[in-house]
């Protein structure tokens, strides 16, 4: 059993030229929490997900990696400001938000490796063709559980 036998081969994707606002709308419509981002040739460029949205709302001091503030329990909340930040990000291209927290796997990757990645990171896993890096599908936790319960 490898990931090609269980992956979702036609996932909802978004083009790298699309905007943050359109990506958010697509996630809402299709009820997915991550979108693989692809270019015109179908090559995988990264994943747009909720973490990218949270990132636009947080102060920079919380996004400094190891040196970040450890918590924000002492700051004041201003809903207006957060609203403005979210709206302000709407027209920015998704290409600005691509991070690759999960390195893509290949169709012949063992399912156990996918399970290990879920255990460690809990993010949907993109599957790309060897060599071309074209998106072949994605694996979410449900693909694995469904395959095991059939």
């Amino acid at each position: 059993m490898n990931v090609s036998t269980i992956m979702n081969a036609s996932p909802v994707t978004i083009s790298v030229t699309e905007t943050f606002g359109n990506a958010l709308r697509l996630m809402e419509e299709r009820r997915v929490h991550a979108l693989p981002v692809v270019d015109a040739a179908g090559v995988y460029k990264g994943t747009f997900d909720f973490a990218d949205i949270w990132k636009t709302l947080l102060p920079k001091a919380a996004l400094l990696g190891m040196d970040s503030l450890t918590d924000l329990s002492f700051v004041s909340d201003a809903q207006e400001i957060l609203r403005e930040k979210l709206a302000g990000a709407g027209s920015r291209p998704v290409s600005e938000f691509l991070d690759r927290r999960v390195e893509p796997v290949h169709p012949d990757t063992p399912v156990k490796e996918a399970i290990l990645l879920f255990y460690r990171l809990d993010e949907d896993i993109p599957v790309v063709e060897r060599g071309t890096n074209r998106l072949a599908g994605i694996v979410t936790p449900w693909e694995i559980l469904n395959a095991l319960r059939d």
């Binding site: 920079k60 001091a61 919380a62 040196d67 450890t70 002492f74 700051v75």
Partner: protein
């Protein structure tokens, strides 16, 4: 001489080998292509492999008093930091001035200087800079002047005490100068330098630091009490820091070395933080505390001490000191002022730690010419002021500068080399002029 023989390898003398290896390491450290800990270890290893020093002699050259003091204070501060007390102080001080940007700049600079006097400069800026970025983002003002002013203040504040900055730790340890002597001789001039620097900064940036009422109100709504994460740890760590500082003050009469005080303080704090935990948690917490110590700095120190010991034991340092004496004509005043200015200019461009490590044995060897070890005290103050304050001159002059530049870069506010130098080189020169006047009237 601690060498195997005067001719060690390939017919080279120990002095020539020690000098070549030392200069090669120095040049590579300046080039910044390779991590400085790797370079110092390679150099120290080469000295032993080439037969300039035996392993035993090399280890005798390491000042474990400096290493212990640095490591102990790193552990204490890192554990204390987990309580959230430093965020508390930063927010509290910003609110004290009603979150007026100029007032915040002055307050955070003074807080940084004060903390740096007792804590490692890098640790201090790592604790203050993230809160500064949070406050400036909320106030919608450019963080640059705040960050730069904090960098300068951390290097200035660190100069005030024995434990504030590595050069002072090295000088104090090598010469046996007590904590109180640093406070009596350096703190007064450092207070003047800090206020002059912050004042100059405030005047330069006064006009561009404006914010809105609403933004100020949001900062005033910060609840600093929420920043305290662990009240028990807060009490424990502040008690330990208090006892450690009092012990430094009394160290001379208690016959205690600084490393004993710092390491024992760290051990007590680790004990208090861990004794209630099960074995598994203890391993994790102790591992975490040790992992956060700056091992690159500590290992760099160890390698460097060995390299300098190679120069010392092969007679190179004595030769250099004789040359320096000849250049200053054996005049004490000229020697003191020359040490102050050359330390400042050099420390602006190269790491002040290797520089001070080389200068210490050189100055020590001048004792007979100037009438004994006690007569040298003004030279030690000149070296400390020059080497510590000189680090403010450029972005690469001190570790705190580079650490802040790294964080600022990740926050999307990069600090450029030239822009930094334009705002800070003159500030550094001003601090050295103040030190010059102080040394002249008090000691020369």
């Amino acid at each position: 001489m601690e060498t195997h023989s005067s001719q060690v390898i390939f017919g080279w003398s120990a002095a020539a080998l020690a000098t070549v290896i030392f200069i090669a390491v120095y040049a590579l450290v300046i080039a910044e292509k390779l991590n400085r800990a790797i370079l110092a270890l390679l150099g120290a290893g080469a000295l032993i492999l080439c037969g300039v020093l035996t392993q035993e002699a090399a280890l005798r050259g390491v000042d474990f008093n400096t290493i212990g003091l640095l490591l102990g204070m790193m552990l204490i501060v890192n554990i204390t930091g987990r309580s959230g007390v430093f965020q508390y102080i930063a927010i509290w001080s910003a609110k004290k001035v009603n979150a007026q940007p100029l007032g915040v700049l002055i307050m955070l600079s003074l807080v940084t200087a004060t903390l740096s006097a007792f804590l490692d400069n890098v640790t201090t800026v790592l604790l203050i800079v993230p809160v500064t970025l949070l406050i400036t983002e909320e106030l919608k003002v450019e963080p640059y002047p705040f960050l730069i002013s904090e960098v300068l203040s951390s290097n200035i504040g660190g100069t005030a005490t024995l434990i504030g900055d590595p050069p002072n730790i090295m000088i104090g340890s090598a010469v046996g100068i007590p904590f109180n002597a640093f406070v009596n001789n350096l703190t007064p001039v450092i207070i003047v330098v800090e206020f002059a620097t912050v004042l100059a900064f405030a005047l330069v940036w006064k006009k561009s630091l404006v914010t809105t009422e609403e933004a100020r109100r949001r900062v005033m709504e910060f609840n600093e009490a929420e920043a305290i994460k662990d009240h028990r740890l807060l009490k424990q760590s502040l008690s330990v820091i208090g006892v450690v500082i009092v012990s430094f003050i009394l160290a001379h009469s208690l016959h205690l070395e600084p490393a004993t005080i710092a390491m024992f303080g760290a051990a007590v704090l680790l004990f208090l933080d861990n004794y209630r935990e099960d074995a598994d948690h203890q391993t994790k917490k102790v591992h975490g505390a040790f992992a956060e110590a700056e091992w690159v700095t500590l290992i760099f120190f160890i390698g460097l001490f060995i390299l300098v010991h190679g120069l010392e034991s092969s007679g190179v340092i004595r030769w250099m000191a004789e040359k320096l004496m000849a250049a200053t004509g054996g005049d004490f005043k000229i020697t003191a002022i020359a040490i102050l200015w050359s330390s400042a200019i050099l420390s602006a461009f190269i790491d002040n730690i290797p520089f001070v490590a080389t200068m210490i044995p050189m100055i020590k060897s001048m004792a007979p010419a100037f009438g004994g070890a006690d007569a040298l005290m003004p030279l030690w103050w000149a070296l400390s002021l020059g080497a510590c304050l000189g680090g403010n001159g450029t972005l690469i002059g001190a570790s705190a500068n580079l650490v802040v530049a790294g964080i600022a870069d990740r926050a999307g506010h990069p600090i450029r080399f030239m822009r930094y130098m334009k705002s800070c080189f003159l500030m550094m020169i001003m601090s050295i002029i103040i030190s010059h006047i102080y040394l002249y009237f008090r000691y020369l």
